[in-house]
């Protein structure tokens, strides 16, 4: 018998949309498999990161666990409670940090927002106030407690959203991209908080920031197009690409990516354009031999100039690229 | 200073002018139609709405009149046929609301969707955004007028004078100019005030109250009669109904048209100026995307 606080077994979710002509005539049915047979357990007291690009299915998984979306098949249990059959118990057992700064009431102050939600968890007014003040203090927002949320900064509002998830001291936390859109200072604050003050909780954290997943997670699951591609500790995952070198090149101009992919020693290749420069990332067994061949190729390609290159230690992005053929940020 | 210019930039620059603005306004109108038609309920509402607005008036009128004729109305305006009187007068409600609310809130809707700043950063004129919305609402409201009048004629025994149709359309064209002035003013209120919709509701409901759509002006208290006479909507309704009930023999045509033209010029000029200054003020405040 499985006794993990979070247990997911073959969880799938398919969204069906129907395109119609003249309002009533269905002409095309689109099926989007947002989750495909996800199986995952999170042991007590661990932080598991769910890393993947936008549209991979991270938020859909969180919403299924949070009982906001009905899965198409499979089961999920939170604190031993089935999220479909025992949904109220499941919701009582978890705190969810999901949604952006608009998920709080802007016409209420930070304290009023937290007291309101605390009361929905059956706290008395005094208990709710005490708890709200405690959390606001831990978030460094006590001096702003009575200001209307509409007058606070984006980062402060996100801290309130985060604090809300902790109101009833839940043993399990679902954190859906909690640092998205935050400036580096606020984001670092939140990560530090999660790492240091929530070590005793069981946490599922979704993110598309590799360094965040790397820094916070005991184990990481890589997800793409609704499927779990790989699962393990950050170290284990990087070991999967240990045999490969990753060459990063900054170029001016556009390289012929198909030719590069066709080179015999190349395992995978991708490029993206940022600020007028191309960044080419190529993996191969021998990074240095690859560098020689690529530099020769770039030299011969008109309009392309190599500004910088380096052979790097494998990152989670390399793992992702090996598994899917593209980078997380693509 | 030399500017780097691509071919597409040069082409875009060369096309500046009224034609480009008109095309842009048309593209906006089509875009709004596409969005509206993607909601099946909106289409249903559009078809059913004229009936739902007219039927309570019809039932109320029947309850008090006991039939299709009214001696009291005859004393007031010279016609016994209250059904036709009200059907024609109230058919303009849809057009009025469409233009005031639809156009007035067009920028607010873009604001709420988060697309306003993007639109404002294109090279089209700022007022073109409002004109584009107006084109949509004019077609939307115009179809509503036709639908309601058509339904009234087919189902409720309303009769109109066929000779009056074209001149009545001319009155509508004049009405739109005045209403567009109001729509510009409404847009300003909406951009400035977060609860602007309440002010707009007051203004539009007030204008509709003093317009002789389902009753003549003389039924209103004297002070409201003066307010009514200063509204382009009043003369639009009078002219529209006058032509459709009396055809070319409509006797109030000169007064209605002249007054309407003057009021149109005043309302349009005022509305356009107000919009110009408000839009600049909002941009100066950096408040375009706030909601």
């Amino acid at each position: 018998m499985n006794q993990n606080p979070v247990e997911i077994q073959d969880l799938s979710k398919t969204f069906i949309s129907v395109r119609r002509r003249a309002i009533v005539i269905p002409v095309e049915k689109t099926r989007v498999e947002a989750l495909r047979s996800i199986t995952m357990d999170i042991p007590k007291g661990q932080i598991h990161g769910l890393l993947g690009p936008n549209g991979a299915g991270k938020t859909t998984l969180i919403k299924c666990l949070a009982t906001l979306v009905l899965p198409s098949s499979g089961t999920a249990r939170v604190n031993g409670y089935d999220v479909l059959k025992e949904s109220t118990y499941a919701r009582a057992s978890m705190g969810v940090c999901q949604g952006n700064e608009r998920s709080i009431y802007w016409k209420l102050s930070a304290r009023e927002n937290l007291i309101f939600f605390a009361k929905l968890y059956r706290m008395s007014h005094d208990e709710a106030k005490e708890r709200a003040d405690e959390l606001l203090g831990r978030m460094g927002l006590l001096d702003k407690a009575d200001e209307k949320t509409e007058n606070l900064s984006h980062g402060m509002r996100m801290k309130i959203v985060f604090a809300r998830a902790l109101l009833h001291d839940p043993p399990i936390l679902l954190l859906d991209e909690p640092t998205q859109g935050l400036d580096p200072t606020f984001a670092a604050d939140l990560r530090k908080f999660i790492k240091e003050q929530l070590r005793d909780r069981t946490i599922l954290l979704t993110t598309h920031y590799m360094h965040e997943a790397d820094m916070l997670s005991d184990k990481i699951a890589l997800i793409d197009e609704g499927e779990l591609k790989s699962f393990g500790t950050p170290k284990e995952l990087k070991e999967e690409v240990r045999d490969y070198d990753s060459l990063h090149m900054k170029l001016v101009g556009t390289p012929d990516i198909e030719t590069i992919k066709g080179m015999e020693m190349v395992m995978s290749a991708s490029y993206s354009t940022r600020n007028g420069h191309s960044e080419l990332v190529v993996t191969a067994q021998d990074g240095y031999e690859l560098a020689y061949q690529l530099l020769t190729l770039m030299h011969k390609t008109p309009g392309v100039k190599v500004e910088h290159f380096e052979v790097k230690e494998p990152t989670l992005d390399d793992v992702f690229m090996k598994l899917t053929g593209r980078r997380i940020e693509d | 200073m030399e500017h780097e210019e691509t071919e597409s930039f040069r082409r875009m620059w060369a096309r500046a002018g009224f034609r480009a603005e008109a095309k842009a306004a048309w593209a906006i109108a089509i875009n709004i139609w596409k969005i509206e038609l993607s909601y099946p309920l909106s289409v249903l509402w559009f078809i059913v709405m004229p009936f739902l607005w007219f039927i309570p008036m019809l039932i109320t009128g029947s309850a008090v009149a006991g039939g299709t004729e009214s001696a009291v109305l005859n004393d007031l305006v010279g016609t016994r046929d209250w059904v036709t009187y009200i059907a024609i007068g109230t058919s303009i409600i849809g057009l009025t609301i469409s233009i005031m609310w639809g156009t007035g809130f067009s920028l607010r809707r873009e604001q709420n969707s988060g697309t306003l700043e993007t639109l404002m950063s294109t090279p089209i004129g700022r007022s073109t955004l409002v004109w584009g919305s107006m084109l949509h609402n004019l077609s939307h409201g115009g179809l509503g007028v036709i639908l309601q009048l058509g339904a009234a004629i087919i189902f409720f025994g309303v009769t109109i004078n066929a000779w009056g149709i074209f001149p009545a359309l001319g009155i509508i064209a004049l009405a739109v100019i005045g209403l567009q002035g109001v729509a510009f003013a409404v847009t300003c209120i909406v951009l400035l005030a977060k609860q602007g919709w309440m002010i707009v509701e007051f203004i539009s409901s007030g204008l509709l109250l003093v317009a002789p759509m389902s009753y003549p002006l003389s039924v209103l208290p004297p002070i409201l009669q003066y307010v009514g006479m200063a509204s382009p909507l009043t003369w639009s309704v009078e002219g529209f109904r006058g032509f459709l009930m009396n055809g070319l023999a409509y006797q109030g045509v000169v007064q209605a048209v002249l007054t309407l033209v003057i009021l149109d010029m005043i309302f349009f000029a005022f509305g356009a100026l107000m919009f110009r200054y408000t839009e600049r003020y909002v941009r100066a405040k950096g408040a375009l995307e706030q909601f």
Binding site: T60 | T60, Q195, Y215
Partner: protein, 298 residues
């Protein structure tokens, strides 16, 4: 009240909160908390209360003016024969007052979840273990209070403007009938809330329901003015019986126990019927949005 039976399987983590937690079918304290939250937010828009007392007047005045234009000021033989009342202005204004509750239940209560959805706060609410019905009831409480205030303002202003008066001695039975109507309207608005969660263009749906309800309601005309099929449908609208009864009491000042009891029994039937329908419709709407995954979208 307990709902789900927890499966006593795996070792579960117990916190002080979880140790005493039991799901409930209806959480009255959560409803109260939600109502207070809504009222707190409403109070931060103080002009709302006054405006909602005056705006409806601008909407109903055209009907009254139309009646005056067709039949002359205040009275009409045809109207008297049809309705039994000889003053259509007095007749209409009291009905307008009662109808405010219907309007509020459609536009405010029915749209409450939509407003939460639009604001981005619906999913955080649904993630709590509070029964959804409690949130709906809380929203309804808050809106009833606000409506009572603004409807009273409307009644007073209209009465002064049009020079009408009503029998104050009948306040008690009027309040009883109003309360029954409000309860029935709660169920009605739960039904609308469920439909609105499903349909993406709620303003149109709400307009449709609002206008159909208005047409069927005997506000500016008696029930007898409607075609017979429509009369049957009209009686199913929660406010129709209430409008007829309250109007009779307020204008005539006469209390007839038998007919009042009949009206009360009919209202009770409507309360039960609409609550069942409303809760079912809401649950269906909620399930639909969960399946589609569109809970947080608008």
């Amino acid at each position: 009240m307990l709902t789900e039976d927890a499966t006593p399987e795996a070792e579960r983590i117990k916190t002080p909160y979880l140790a005493t937690f039991k799901p409930r079918l209806m959480d009255w304290s959560a409803a109260k908390v939600f109502a207070l939250k809504n009222l707190r937010i409403a109070i931060r828009y103080p002009t709302n209360f006054l405006i909602w007392g005056i705006l409806p007047l601008l909407w109903y005045a055209p009907y009254i003016l139309m009646m005056i234009a067709i039949a002359g000021p205040g009275t009409s033989q045809s109207f008297t024969e049809l309705s039994g009342f000889d003053d259509f202005i007095t007749f209409s204004i009291i009905a307008v007052f009662v109808y405010q509750y219907v309007d509020k239940s459609i536009w405010s209560v029915g749209n409450n979840f939509r407003w939460e959805q639009f604001s981005g706060t619906l999913e955080p609410l649904f993630v709590t273990p509070v029964p959804r019905i409690s949130i709906l009831v809380g929203a309804a409480f808050s809106d009833t209070l606000q409506c009572t205030f603004s409807a009273t303002v409307l009644l007073v202003i209209s009465s002064v403007l049009f020079g009408v008066s009503y029998a104050i001695t009948m306040v008690a039975p009027i309040v009883v009938m109003l309360t029954m109507m409000v309860f029935a309207l709660y169920g009605f608005s739960f039904m609308i809330a469920g439909l609105i969660l499903v349909f993406k263009d709620p303003s149109v749906l709400t307009e449709l329901i609002s206008n159909i309800t208005y047409v069927l309601s005997p506000i500016t005309y008696p029930l007898q003015a409607l075609p017979s099929a429509a009369r049957f449908a009209a009686v199913l609208v929660p406010s129709t019986i209430a409008i007829i009864t309250i109007r009779e009491l307020a204008i005539t000042g006469l209390f007839q126990p038998l007919s009042f009891l009949q009206a009360f029994a009919s209202m009770l039937g409507l309360v039960i019927g609409f609550w069942v329908l409303g809760v079912l419709a809401f649950r269906w709407g909620e399930k639909w949005t969960k399946e589609k995954g569109s809970m947080g979208g608008f």
